[in-house]
């Protein structure tokens, strides 16, 4: 009997390259898009203003998509993110308006100070966490499929927001919030972009470097094995949906600041936009695989496509068509990768 007692070899360069290409093609696609638009319209596409607009447009969606990444890695889905954003923004805006003593029909900006803004922000985050925890408990404890639970809470949160606001957007935000967060800058960088970057970096570190993050991957990869290994799977699932809710709360504050109004009817597609960004970024709908960096790339692809098409004078409707095709391509490649892996 041959006793080859070799120590397991480390990964070869070839393997690493393969993995990079398999996992990084969407990043290469993003670079290619940027390069094409830069070559065709360097002045417009590469202008400081345009680049800044790209990042600002990505900021709110990115925060939502980061939460969605956590959820999808557990092989779940969160359809409620856009509605929770709306609900949190209405609660936050109403509260700030009430605290600043202005009437409910005030239009424009209020003179509310940072104290009121802080209360409004905390309220938005708490409301987001509350919806997320509600989702998580229904999914992890009562074992109702995530698709159904979050489809339900999507309706409940949007309906709830409309009940609270009477169906009319709250159109007055604190002046300070709008000028400093909505259109303000920190060290020359738009505040919204700073918030999104910090959120994504922290989320990435937690996901990829901590025990909590490892548990998220484990639960998504094999929930039963995780449970048998002593990982508190129920608690982890609830926490993951709570984080997605928290992200919706953060995005709600950003949205209020940016648009100076709640946007009740503006987030119906957020769930699908975030899910497609997450999937484009290489996170598997089957769970267990994914990265925050991939999601960042996935968020930028539709935004760059739309921007480039507009600059090139291609009807922007084509962006929707292109995005649909890219999304199908992304899932197809994910499945190919899985099949290759099984064979190897």
């Amino acid at each position: 009997m041959s006793n080859e007692l070799a120590i397991a070899p480390v990964e070869s360069t070839e393997d690493r390259l393969l993995r990079l290409v398999a996992g990084g093609w969407i990043f290469l696609l993003l670079l290619a898009l940027v390069a094409i638009f830069l070559v065709l319209r360097p002045a417009q596409f590469g202008s400081a203003y345009n680049v800044q607009q790209l990042f600002i447009n990505a900021a709110i969606l990115l925060v939502l998509a980061v939460g969605q990444t956590y959820v999808v890695i557990t092989s779940g889905i969160d359809l409620s993110v856009g509605s929770v954003l709306v609900f949190a923004s209405v609660v936050s805006a109403k509260l700030m308006l009430f605290l600043s003593g202005a009437g409910g029909t005030t239009y424009g900006t209020t003179a509310a100070g940072w104290d009121i803004i802080a209360i409004g922000t905390v309220a938005a985050l708490l409301v987001g966490v509350a919806w997320g925890t509600f989702n998580g408990i229904l999914i992890a404890v009562t074992k109702i499929p995530p698709l159904i639970v979050t489809l339900g809470t999507m309706g409940m949160a949007l309906g709830g927001a409309q009940i609270l606001s009477g169906g009319v957007d709250v159109r007055a935000m604190p002046e300070l919030l709008v000028t400093h967060v909505g259109s303000g800058r920190i060290l020359g960088i738009p505040t919204l972009v700073v918030i999104a970057t910090v959120t994504a970096v922290i989320a990435g570190i937690v996901l990829h470097m901590t025990r909590f993050g490892m548990h998220i991957f484990a639960v998504g990869s094999n929930a039963e094995a995780s449970r048998r290994s002593g990982i508190p799977t129920t608690a982890r699932l609830i926490q993951v949906y709570a984080i997605s809710g928290l992200m919706a709360g953060i995005a709600a504050v950003m949205s209020n600041a940016r648009f100076s109004t709640t946007t009740i009817n503006g987030h119906a597609m957020d769930n699908l936009a975030t899910i497609s960004a997450v999937v484009l970024g290489g996170t598997s709908l089957f769970g267990g695989v994914g990265s925050v960096f991939g999601t960042v790339v996935g968020v930028f692809i539709p935004i760059i496509l739309l921007n480039g098409f507009v600059i090139l004078g291609i009807p922007p409707f084509w962006q929707t068509v292109a995005m649909g095709a890219v999304l199908i391509l992304a899932v197809w490649i994910d499945q190919l990768k899985r099949r290759l892996r099984k064979r190897g």
């Binding site: 480390v10 990964e11 025990r211 899985r338 190897g344």
Partner: protein, 254 residues
């Protein structure tokens, strides 16, 4: 004779009208491989579940190193140094071998970063490589996911994992059922190395030549009772078949 590592006596378990176990006995000594065989419906799975803490007997006693124990969950058994590798492996297919070895027992860094839950991947990776080397488990890469490994390698990782955390006894439920010839041989080698490293092994198997090749002792169950406890060196496949199909329960020599 020294104290058995794990001893089950007079185990009875009834499901409705079905008497799965009718006073089965089982014994594992330190540092040996014991095979547990029996025809379908002989009560092997039920006995394994009871030994691993996944099920409770209606009657009978379990002793670990002479002390009576009562397992209410697999975690209780694990705390007594007993781990079970089930047929469905219980690995996370998308994680690396090292991550799987430490699943649920991740090492964190020292100091503040550790308190924040930061993983000490370098130490986990190093200990994983050491564990695989100690047991002679060869993997084409430490960094790929479990799903890209062959069935035999996956099985090896699962066994290495159990052996890493079970200081005393590893129970393997049909570890070679789905494997080819070469991979089966590797897994059997692994069983021997686990034993040689000081951890006893209980091997549940249908494959009698294999059982005789690797085990030190063979326990035969028939219709919920222990009908034979043979030294593998003295037994033949014909003996095992006879005991499995027509063996009578009798008092076993200690």
């Amino acid at each position: 004779m020294s104290t058995p590592l794990l001893e089950a006596t007079g185990i009875r378990r009834t499901f409705g009208h079905v008497q799965a176990l009718k006073g089965a006995n089982f014994r594992v000594m330190p540092g040996e491989i014991v095979a547990l065989i029996g025809d379908n419906g002989a009560g092997k799975s039920t006995l394994v579940k009871i030994l691993s803490g996944a099920d409770k007997p209606d009657e009978g006693t379990l002793r670990v190193e002479g002390k009576a124990v009562s397992f209410t969950s697999p975690l209780d058994a694990q705390e007594c140094g007993i781990a079970t590798v089930y047929q469905d492996l219980a690995l996370a297919p998308d994680l690396t071998p090292a991550d799987n070895l430490f699943l649920g027992r991740e090492l964190t860094r020292s100091g503040l970063l550790g308190k924040l839950g930061f993983l000490d991947r370098r130490t986990m990776q190093r200990q994983a490589v050491e564990q695989f080397a100690k047991l002679g488990v060869q993997l084409k890469s430490q960094r790929v996911s479990i799903a890209s490994l062959s069935g035999g390698q996956q099985q090896s990782v699962a066994i290495a994992r159990a052996a890493m955390w079970a200081s005393k006894l590893v129970i393997l439920d049909e570890p070679t059922a789905a494997l080819g010839v070469v991979q089966t041989q590797r897994v059997l080698d692994l069983c021997r190395r686990v034993r040689d490293a000081g951890t006893s092994v209980v091997l549940i198997s249908h494959n009698m030549p294999q059982v005789l090749e690797v085990a030190d002792r063979v326990h035969v169950l028939r219709l919920g009772q222990t009908v034979a406890d043979l030294r593998a060196a003295d037994a033949s496949v014909a003996d095992l078949v006879r005991e499995m199909t027509s063996g009578q329960a009798k008092e076993l020599a200690a």
